[in-house]
Amino acid sequence: MNPATDRLIDTRGYIFLAVLSAAAVLVPILTLVIPDESAFAMPPYLVALFGKYLCFALLAVALDLVWGYCGILSLGHGAFFALGGYAMGMYLMRQIGTRGVYAHPVLPDFMVFLNWKELPVAWWGFQSFPYAMAMVLLIPGLLAFIFGWLAFRSRVTGVYLSIITQAMTYALMLAFFRNDMGFGGNNGLTDFKDLLGFNVQATETRVALFVASCIALGGGYLVARAVVTSKFGKVVIAIRDAESRTRFLGYRVETYKLAVFVLSAMMAGLAGALYVPQVGIINPGEFSPANSIEAVIWVAVGGRGTLVGAALGAFMVNWGKTFFTGALPEYWLFALGGLFVLVTLFMPKGVIGLIDQYKVRRASKKPTAEG
């Protein structure tokens, strides 16, 4: 209907990318260049906070790609996010080296403390940054591939698919909670020191991570956009709207779904990897099904199937959470819960939908005013 949606970057996309680039340029200046006393200086804690939101936004974009465009409601995207986070966390743990409290050259603190003697095989190679980064993409990608290959081939759809994705993340959460798994159990991985030789707590590193998150989000958006505007993307959207018909037309539905699902999982993994050094901890709580549901809600709040809306929703909901947990610590769940109900009832297309509606109304008013 709208020809603009076929362009790689539509108007909405331009605004989104412009805001991201502005943030990527201005935040370093405001934080690092402008002296602290100035009214324009941005306190470092806000950098970490917004960096975190950017990671959530990338997760939301990834989720919107599968849900909004392919109709796969994944209630387990938090699992891919967390796996990416763990891969990054393992790299950061290996970087601590002898600076851990027990000063063990190889084993992370929690292993010394539980009397482990050797580094488990799963941890091998994580001292190398390129290897760890490859794992950030490969592990979530592989899990998504295996899971999707099984599920899409046997045509598990709708709520069944949603519930088994939930089972997947729940099983992973239980598994990572086990100390015997060797990923730090409930405490997870924490007390990071260096990232590529830079102190993760230094403001400069935080700013760099912030900029990296901006770039990742922008990149993720462009990739998602490229997918959905391509011919391949048209088929994907067709699958969302009428899966059986698309299959009857001769498309291998499961292959398309699998490709989108794997791509989305990798984006989520990348988001997790950027998230971990900025918040300073990764633990099995990230796998909890409630987290994945929340991610779905970000997308719904922003507007499903719009990509920009997903990012916007992630930003708004998380910012609201930050604000309300401080301002109304005992009542914020009412606000958050109420928001979810109101959004589903009154804004079925999310914030972006609301904006569009407003535009349409203005556009339809104009001719009547003139005529």
Partner: protein, 435 residues
């Protein structure tokens, strides 16, 4: 709430990027005048709200009382309550917000070890002070954290000693929730029991997930393990939520304290308030404080607490006492230092001694842990504990356990010139984490 509005404006401003100029009209908060802010970082929602909400209330009461006495350094105290919602990364975020935005002088908070681990780097980076009120596994000593709960030697080892001497226990079930506190405590206990001549086949270790609710199989196994002809006891490090179904199942299975006593380290008056304790009479708990401790200072505290919460049946527990001690210590240290500056207060803290609620004095040691008496209590039909044994003196919290291989040579001493959280007495070197 002007600060939140400003924060909101600033947040939005930064999000949009360029619009920041509109927002940050105010300068950074002046710290010299006005009230002294005290951060309260306890989960008010999510799974840990069960335990932590009470601690928030006790902090509010202590601050209110201090203000009635004229505040601190001539300034009022102002509590800043946030809700980290049992979400560990959110703990770190909220800690950062408290320190960097609200400029709190000290923070009282956390319950789980993971929440403490999550905020630890934040407190160290921004050089602020955290008081941590819960019994934990030890193996940590940070310059910026004061541990007012029990270390394993202030709870677990005396409890095992008691059972060995008074109940002649020879067979041990170490049952815990699968996370770091039970893992470490059980490891320490296993080494300790073996050093006392207990054989491997007389120790059964069992881990269950958080919130485990179906205990039939495990209770049956305990019963089976206990029928080998030797006196058996269960040492439980089962975490909060899972305890109610566990004890209910024990009652259902007819395991009485006279047959197989269970000694718990995470079950206090608050937890028992949710259970019908009649079938549990005689099961034990080891803490550093019981509500039933009979002395005037405790009675006064209970009365004040009940008046504050407007609930005549409200119970008190050990972590609450830890906050009372921690808060009083902090007040004393600030008065001693004459400032709320973190470095000065951290230095002033060591050696500060305040009355605890069991009738003695607790002192902050150079390892940032405190001295405490150890009490063993038996569950009564009214949900209270009856103290059946007590250490004669005070026990110093031992941050690095002697029974763990990695930590037996480590000590912490934050006084100058050593100023180290993990000094290795064998190599004479301070480990990596210390600043």
């Amino acid at each position: 709430m002007s600060f939140t509005r400003r924060f909101m404006l600033r947040a939005t401003g930064a999000a949009i990027g360029g619009a920041l100029a509109l927002a940050s009209t105010g300068a950074a908060f002046a710290q010299g005048a006005g009230p002294i802010k005290v951060g309260i970082l306890h989960s008010l929602s999510g799974t840990m709200a069960i335990s932590e909400t009470t601690l928030k209330d006790v902090m509010l009461m202590l601050i209110e009382e201090q203000n009635k006495k004229g505040g601190l350094l001539g300034r009022k105290l102002e509590p800043v309550v946030v809700d980290p919602a049992s979400n560990w990364p959110l703990f770190a975020e909220k800690a950062r917000e408290l320190i960097a935005k609200d400029k709190v002088a000290a923070t009282f908070g956390c319950w789980t070890s993971v929440s403490r681990k999550s905020v630890l780097p934040v407190f160290e980076e921004l050089n602020s002070i955290l008081f941590y009120p819960v019994q934990y596994e030890g193996e940590e000593s940070s310059r910026n954290i004061f541990y007012t709960g029990a270390a394993p030697n202030q709870q677990a080892i005396p409890a095992v000693d008691y059972l060995m001497e008074n109940e002649k226990v020879q067979r041990w079930v170490l049952a815990g929730t699968d996370y770091v506190y039970p893992r470490t405590t059980n490891r320490i206990l296993e080494a300790y029991l073996k050093s006392k001549g207990v054989k491997q086949e007389d120790i059964m270790i069992n881990y269950t997930p958080f919130g485990h609710s179906d205990w039939q199989t495990i209770v049956a196994n305990i019963k089976k393990f206990g029928s080998a002809g030797k006196k058996t006891a269960v040492v439980s490090t089962i975490n909060g939520d899972a305890n109610v179904p566990f004890y209910k199942e024990l009652g259902n299975a007819g395991i009485k304290a006279t047959d197989i006593p269970v000694v718990a380290f995470s079950v206090g008056e608050e937890e028992l308030a949710g259970i019908d304790t009649k079938p549990l009479v005689g099961h034990l708990a080891a803490w550093n404080y019981f509500q039933s401790v009979d002395n005037p200072i405790n009675k006064e505290f209970i009365a004040k607490w009940r008046a504050f919460t407007k609930n005549a049946k409200r119970v008190t527990n050990d972590p609450m006492e830890a906050h009372v001690i921690g808060f009083n210590m902090w007040v004393k240290a600030v008065e001693k230092a004459g400032t709320i500056d973190s470095d000065a207060v951290i230095d002033a803290m060591i050696g500060v001694s305040v009355p605890n609620l069991t009738g003695g004095y607790s002192t902050m040691m150079p390892n940032h842990h405190i001295t405490k008496p150890v009490l063993i209590g038996e569950v009564q039909a009214d949900g209270q504990f009856n103290t059946v044994w007590q250490t004669s003196g005070l026990v110093v919290g031992d941050e690095w356990s002697d029974y763990l291989e990695g930590s037996k040579d480590l000590i912490a001493d934050w006084r100058k010139p050593l100023s180290c959280g993990n000094f290795n007495v064998a190599t004479g070197k301070c480990g990596g984490a210390a600043k």
